[in-house]
Amino acid sequence: MGTPTRRQILAFLVAAPTLTIAVNLTGDEPTAEAAIPTPPAPADLIDLGELLILAAAPTSNMLILTVESDGMVTLQLPREEVGQGITTATAMLVAEEMDIPLSQVRVRLDDARPELLFNQLTGGSNTIRAVYEPVRRAAAAARTRLVAAAAARWDTEASSLRTQEGEVVSLDGLHISFGELAVEAANTALSVGSPALKPESEFTLIGKATSRIDARAMVTGTQQYTLDLDVPGALPTMVRRPPSINGTVRSVDNAAAVRAMPGVVDLAVIQTGVAVAAETFGQALDATRALKVTWNAGTVDSESDATIKKKLRAAALPFVVPPLLTQHVDAEFDFAFASHAPLETNSAIADVRADRAEIWAGLKSPIVAQQTIAQELGLSEDAVKVHVIQGGGSFGRRLFFDSALEAARISKAMKRPVKLMWSRIDDMRHGRARAASHHKIRATYALGNVLTFEHRVASVETDFRHGLGEILTAMAANLPVGGNLSFAQTVFLTTIKSPYNFGVTTQLLNEVPLKMHTGSWRSVYSANTRGAEEIMVDELARKLGKDPVAFRREFLKTDKQRAVLNKVATEGKWGQSLPAGFAQGVGFHEEYKSCTACMVTIDARDTKNPRVVKAVIAADYGRPINPRGLEAQLLGGLTDAIATTLRAGLHLDRGLPLEGSYSQFHYARQKDSPTDVKIFIMPPNGEPGGAGELGVPAAVGAIANAYARATGIAPRSFPINFPVDFEPFPR
């Protein structure tokens, strides 16, 4: 088995009994005095991103950076770009450290490199945190060698030379380009001093708003995604899938007729359905539709929204603090399944031969993909080459390699290269989704203080079998918590924490295992868990007769947190008077050493059709690399929150989501998005924190709170407006 089973991983975790860590509590000291301090949660001590960085550390310097004789510098990045802007940010790191123009840096996504072990997983907002220093080190090493080569050429001291704009420059005005020095610099006999990193105070590019390095390719249509690649002989291929999740083929009843359809080249039954290869995708799609297949049952055929809700309610762990002892607020929340729905559907190209295989796909965990596919094909790992292709969105989806594995199976069965594309309907119905969850929250208060804050989360099991398991197992000794934790609980405890001094705070997860396709969705548990908590914060404020912003200001733990809150309150004119049906709402979130506040104004005159009309967001990332890219991530997080809080979710009906396209899964459109958005990135004050996922939870809270204030309706079930307002596609 390439991927350990859940059971094996649990066994490993239990087998590592020393779950202690000497933690250096960095960051500013808690400053709230009146509030009853909440001791640090596990995620305050070590978060998931840090675990991933620790796991990546042994191989973090195995980066490949090439200086060509034309002066171009290429960084091979062992991560996946899916729109989050990491190729641009890492190119900036290289350009800064080498003193070269950004246009001289190329970033290529590394193929699967098994020698990198745990250092090729794109998730947990870890990329920039993990590579910030290693990439600069690699660049500094290259720069030092180039300077040494110039020193040798000019027979002078390296210390008398400096670099600027891609050249080495001497005191007396000699200058030579890096390109010209590339060959000499590679000479192993060269004597080279130890490279020093540029002090952060001397940064001129890092921290400066910069446009994406691939922007031009994107606006001219030349950016290539998996299905745009020309792999000789790879035929358009699609799969007819079962009427319910994980159904399997019993028989294909008209194979000969379908094979005779125009353009159809081949047909194969695989674990997940019936694959058809054709001359064009149009013909492959027609053929999959024309197939008459008898199916075996799926794995969750008896499950629908109602049965799942019941299971989740039963699974939520009890509170410790009994009611009635003191004043308290109780609330329960439900969140529907949410499709990742990246605009580029699941896709992959596979060319499987008797003795080797080659795969192309958008992959955030390519090493595990390679191992699993090798296993599946009965090949050795080094006989399987896996190319990582820039993806058309992910939001967690491309942590899994379902399409790459499926394409490999089809290519093997058909004995030809295939270019596999999932239809949108299949991507929504048989793809992965954020697990539905149920939340119980109880807070007690007295004399203007919050005494306890308990949150019990029950969630359909989230699948983490994309390599995260092995990492967590290997890192178990670093976890600040002991006991028999499942994976999911480990992820939960290393991502979820309360930013407030709410006295005794406990946040616990219990999962309901169901055999369906789930996966981390941008911010994993935080969008729902912290989103619900931000609603509770508003309700607590109301009980205590306090303004939501003033209340947060009082109970947040640090000045850094308060600074982003104050920023949105000022810039967004918190408390301004608005017409009836409009209201402001605020939310706060902190994770992976970054924090953000979001303030929105909602127009909820029509309660069934509200629109967020304005948003003001401030975020502190410790060390922003590219503020322009960070703003883009916050804008994306805001849009995700608008969609999933107000309208977008999946209804599960007898083992299959009803939604099959964006006309049904109502991801936000232009008409749902605000016409006024202001985003502020706080100045640098430390090391880079996580970026890609931060924006969602605060925005979920802000939108729900604005809706409640505008309508007087306390939102409890998400999305708030969630009718089946469409005719589902046939199964």
């Binding site: 729109g83 064009t280 995708f281 149009g282 605009l343 804008l635 396209s661």
Partner: protein
């Protein structure tokens, strides 16, 4: 199979395809024009948005036979050599794209809108239905307004 002759980005092409083959697949799979993207195949996501005789269409639901004798323009045909169309220029200025997958469609929709109305209002922009799953809408909006300026609207 029947033949269809039409122009794509100024070049005359002939494809051999069944009459009902969606133009999207004639472009992508037969002609190698990969700018227009598949996102739904049923005229919902608008990722494939291109122009026929200057008007925005969705080739995932246009049979190739309908293109006969017409002028098809895809994202690849928008720039004049190295000189970008003002809408593309505005897109760069606003750094709109994230994953970029929807952007050929967004840009082609914006170009068509600006052809219909020189100075689009927020309501005009709201009417653009193209899905951007990365949520770049606000930057799309700003870029359309900026493009209108660049085009003298």
């Amino acid at each position: 199979m029947p033949n269809y002759t039409f122009s794509v980005n100024g070049k005359t092409v002939t494809v051999d395809a069944p009459a009902d083959l969606p133009l999207l697949w004639a472009l992508r799979d037969k002609l190698g024009v990969k700018g227009p993207k598949y996102g739904c195949g049923i005229n919902v996501c608008k990722a494939c948005t291109s122009h026929i005789n200057g008007k925005a269409v969705n080739p995932c639901v246009v049979p190739v036979a309908d293109a006969q004798g017409k002028e098809v323009t895809t994202i690849e045909g928008l720039a004049d050599g190295d000189i970008l169309h003002p809408v593309q220029q505005a897109w760069l200025e606003q750094d709109v794209a994230q994953c970029g997958y929807c952007q050929p469609g967004q840009i082609m929709a914006a170009v068509a809108l600006l052809k219909r109305t020189k100075k689009p209002t927020d309501a005009d922009i709201d009417a653009i239905e193209n899905v951007c799953r990365c949520g770049t809408y606000f930057r799309v909006r700003k870029a359309i307004k900026r493009a209108a300026e660049l085009m003298g609207g």
